[in-house]
């Protein structure tokens, strides 16, 4: 089941407030703002906790 489009329109990165993109095949939500954090989607539920996000290597 895909995530609701209306939800994706208001969803933002909790860390940098940047736009996010959901890639269903990955079951992940990617921050396209400044921080680039990646949030898991488990069982169609976005896990937006910053502590559980994958952080890009700098």
């Amino acid at each position: 089941m895909p995530l609701d489009q209306q939800l994706l329109e208001i969803l933002a990165c909790p860390n940098c407030h940047g736009n996010v993109e959901y890639i269903e095949a990955d079951q992940k939500i990617y921050c396209r703002g400044t921080c680039g954090f990646v949030y898991p989607v488990r069982d169609d539920i976005p896990i937006m906790l910053i502590d559980e996000a994958e952080k890009p290597q700098r």
């Binding site: 208001i10 909790p14 539920i45 896990i47 502590d51």
Partner: protein, 260 residues
């Protein structure tokens, strides 16, 4: 406490007891929840966010009255329970997200109503959480918040904070009604209503929901029995022989508006 420890603590505390919170008479609903819906005056086109939804009691009460609901909780177990209950109620207008209250994962001005019921006393930074609610509300949007109120009597407040903290390691702090009003105003809100609801707690059921060891329960029972007459009066501690039956604290329900 490190953030990850905190997350684990919350998950352990609430993930396992989701069903207890779904069933608890105090959390499931009552005159305070009815009044919250009434004060919010939900409209069929409204978008609503319920923060720290727990077992979803508040989100479920509002869902039939609004366009859509986003239910947020830090504990996966609570979110799973809430989603299941929405399915059982055949309510399809909800989305579920695992997250905390201090940094909301939404664009500015995304909601018409934000609700948060009997949860802010768990927040590590209630000031920041309140500013975040303001940010995600649209102009004219309503924030309905209800929480355990600290007694105005300082001795009773100190006693209650102590037993609450030992019963529940995730308890941070309850505010008094004037502290709530001041906090909301600092965040930019206009406070439209502040109402008090006495809430009687059966001591044994209250201890049971804490999920704490027997020796700690016994110590808290003894503390209630040994409390000063002033504290017993302020908390309406009811005793039957050597057995504490109940105590009563207050919930404060506030309606705050983001000015247009």
């Amino acid at each position: 406490m490190k953030p990850m420890d905190r997350k684990q603590e919350i998950e352990a505390r609430f993930g396992a007891s989701a069903d207890a919170y779904a069933q608890s008479p105090g959390h499931r609903g009552g005159p305070d929840l009815d009044r919250m819906v009434e004060l919010a005056a939900p409209a069929p086109g409204d978008d609503l966010l319920d923060i720290a939804t727990g077992a979803g009691n508040t989100a479920l009460a509002f869902a039939p009255h609004v366009r859509r609901v986003v239910a947020l909780d830090m504990a996966d177990g609570m979110i799973a329970t809430t989603r299941k209950r929405f399915g059982e109620a055949h309510l399809m207008n909800a989305d579920f997200i695992v997250h905390d209250a201090e940094q909301l994962p939404f664009e500015d001005a995304s909601f018409d109503i934000v609700t948060c019921r009997i949860a802010p006393h768990h927040f590590l930074d209630v000031e920041r959480a309140t500013h975040e609610v303001f940010r995600v509300l649209r102009a004219g949007g309503r924030y309905l918040v209800e929480d355990s109120a600290a007694p105005r009597d300082p001795t009773a407040a100190s006693f209650l904070h102590d037993v609450e903290s030992r019963r529940d390691a995730t308890h941070v702090r309850s505010l008094t009604e004037p502290e709530w009003t001041a906090l909301l105003k600092r965040a930019g809100f206009a406070v439209a209503a502040a109402e008090i609801f006495p809430k009687r707690h059966d001591l044994e059921a209250w201890l049971e929901r804490g999920g704490i060891p027997e020796d700690l329960k016994a110590a808290i029972r003894s503390d209630f029995l040994a409390a000063s007459p002033a504290v017993r009066r302020a908390l309406i501690v009811q005793v039957d022989g050597a057995h504490v039956v109940s105590f009563t604290d207050e919930k404060v329900l506030l309606k705050a508006i983001r000015p247009g």
